[in-house]
């Protein structure tokens, strides 16, 4: 176990084809509240992991700690042989550049145009002077355009991000994440504020990234059917602890009820945030 790791080591470990991620005994307290408590899991292969649980179970905190947006109270997270929680300064930012994050509220810059928002995914690679003067290269613009074409938001390239619909904004956010050339994507309730059709587009985009680019995806989800449809592996959290970790087929209804507690009925019902598009549900939604 190394306390210090040099830039070259980090690049090396991040260069390996599929990231070996190991979370061990992770704990985060906010004052006297324990948000996550001794969370441990390991992911060695390329997979689509869904984290389910009721609101307040610690799902968001877990992802934010993994990206280093929030500092942990204790615990370790290894990417390859490096404990990424010990990284500082530019090494920490390099980890963040490799560990893209997608948010429930998209977190784009509302007053900047879409293509600039996408190019901002490369900020780590740009010097402060170059980026603040907005000297983006033609290559960066063309990479951004390729991604926007792939996820169907290219026609909006020159609009301000705030003029887009929620579904479009989330796909722009996915473009920004992909612009980072990440090894792993953390998605924090990416479809919680979207309608069923857009929710499905976003989940399918994440699934295609996972299968064709071999990028590991860890996705917080609120509804059970979405997790069962898209994920290779489901982690269930309750009160900050992992109470289930296994294949979707292994998740029995009884176990799911235990994960969700009083919110079970809501989670079981394919509600507005769900991706399923049965006619009956559309009827309810509209």
């Amino acid at each position: 176990m190394k306390l210090f790791c040099h830039f070259a080591d980090l690049s090396l470990c991040l260069e390996s084809e599929i990231m070996h991620l190991q979370v061990s005994k992770l704990k985060k307290e906010f004052g006297s509240t324990v948000a996550i408590n001794s969370v441990s899991f390991e992911s060695t292969k390329n997979e689509f992991i869904g984290i389910i649980g009721r609101s307040g179970a610690g799902k968001s905190t877990l992802l934010r700690v993994l990206n280093r947006l929030t500092t942990e109270t204790e615990g370790k997270v290894f990417a390859g042989s490096i404990n990424i929680l010990e990284l500082k300064g530019s090494e920490k930012r390099q980890w963040q550049s490799q560990c893209a994050m997608i948010f429930q509220q998209f977190n784009l810059v509302p007053r900047l145009d879409v293509i600039t928002n996408v190019i901002l995914g490369r900020l780590f690679y740009q010097s402060t002077l170059r980026s603040t003067l907005r000297f983006f290269t033609k290559e960066e613009r063309s990479d951004a355009l390729d991604l926007m074409n792939r996820f169907g938001v290219a026609p909006t390239a020159l609009q301000r991000a705030e003029t887009l619909s929620g579904g479009q904004q989330q796909r722009v956010a996915i473009c920004r994440a992909m612009m980072q050339n990440p090894k792993i994507i953390l998605a924090d309730e990416p479809i919680a504020s979207l309608d069923p059709l857009n929710a499905r587009l976003v989940m399918e985009a994440l699934q295609s990234i996972n299968s064709s680019e071999k990028i590991k995806v860890i996705c917080n989800l609120h509804t059970l059917d979405t997790a069962r449809t898209y994920c290779d592996r489901i982690i269930g959290m309750r009160s900050g602890e992992i109470v289930f970790d296994g294949k979707p087929s292994e998740l029995s209804d009884a176990k799911a009820r235990e994960i969700y507690g009083v919110e079970a009925d809501e989670a079981f019902e394919a509600s507005v945030t769900s991706t399923s598009l049965n006619t009956s549900h559309i009827g309810i939604a509209s």
Binding site: L69, R93, Q94, M101, F103, V109, P110, S131
Partner: protein, 284 residues
């Protein structure tokens, strides 16, 4: 969860305590205001050797003198107005320069003075106290010191107004930044952006309309400040105004005042035009 549960009784009790406190504060505040106003009039009467009210009467005589002087000048009065335009231009340029430079410096420094974005709390305190110091001295104090050191010219006035602008704008900008939406900031942090990149892309775009609007308002204030500094030897239209006042040339005084009001009004129109342009863009 359950240990944090609040009963309706305790909530009502807390609300009652809060309401009582609020009532006490309101009464104290109103009492203090009344005391200050009453004692203020008393002090004014004392220093005016008895007659605060007589001063008020004189106050209304002077404008009448001004208008009769201007009326006597006839059409020539408009010539007087035109003759002061170069001096107005000097004052106006000084105000524009100090607003642009002051607001720019404030904009660069203000993220350091915000609790949500500054690298550490020591920096917040240092930068905020610097703004406080710059803001707490009136321009006149800076200008008098600088005029003494540098001799009579417009430069000391520019420096004085710029320093005051940094202090005032720095406070306003940093408060605007403390109220921004932090989601884009999180978004760019998660990408691995450097601190100043986050400021440039996630913070400045959000506060830009407010920054422009505050700066235009500050430009108005700075036109007035630069004029007043002319009184103490900083040149520009203020120097002419003080001379005309002392010589009791009512027509000239009125011409200068007309120019100043016209400038401020024009600025007001200009700033609301710019603001609407910006807001229009947002809603489009």
């Amino acid at each position: 969860m359950s240990q944090n549960a609040i009963t309706i009784e305790s909530l009502e009790e807390n609300l009652k305590v809060l309401a009582r406190q609020r009532a006490i504060y309101s009464v104290l505040f109103i009492g203090a205001i009344i005391f200050i106003v009453v004692s203020g009039v008393g002090v004014a009467n004392q220093y005016n050797a008895g007659s605060f009210t007589r001063g008020v009467e004189n106050f209304f005589d002077y404008p009448a003198d001004l208008f009769s002087d201007a009326f006597e000048a006839g059409w020539g009065w408009f010539g007087i107005v035109l003759s002061f335009i170069p001096a107005l231009f000097e004052t106006f340029s000084a105000a524009v320069f100090s607003t642009v430079v002051g607001a720019s410096i404030a904009l660069i420094l203000c993220p350091l003075a915000t609790i949500n974005l500054s690298p550490n709390q020591v920096t917040v305190q240092i930068v905020r106290r610097t703004f406080d110091i710059l803001r707490s001295f009136p321009e006149l104090v800076f200008a008098l010191i600088l005029l003494y050191l540098m001799g009579k010219s417009i430069v000391p006035a520019i420096i004085a107004v710029t320093l005051h602008t940094i202090g005032a704008m720095g406070k306003l900008f940093s408060e605007a930044i403390e109220n921004i939406d932090m989601k884009p900031v999180d978004g760019l942090k998660s990408v691995g952006a450097r601190w100043y990149q986050i400021i440039c892309f996630a913070v400045y775009p959000q506060v830009l309309p407010l920054v422009l609007s505050y700066s235009l308002l500050r430009l108005e204030i700075n036109v007035r400040a630069s004029t007043i500094l002319g009184f103490v030897g900083a040149g520009g239209i203020g120097a002419y105004l003080t001379a005309s006042l002392q010589w009791r040339y009512g027509d000239e005084v009125l011409a200068i005042m007309f120019l100043l009001v016209a400038t401020i009004t024009a600025l007001d129109y200009f700033s609301s035009y710019v603001r609407h342009k910006l807001i229009g863009k947002i809603s489009a």
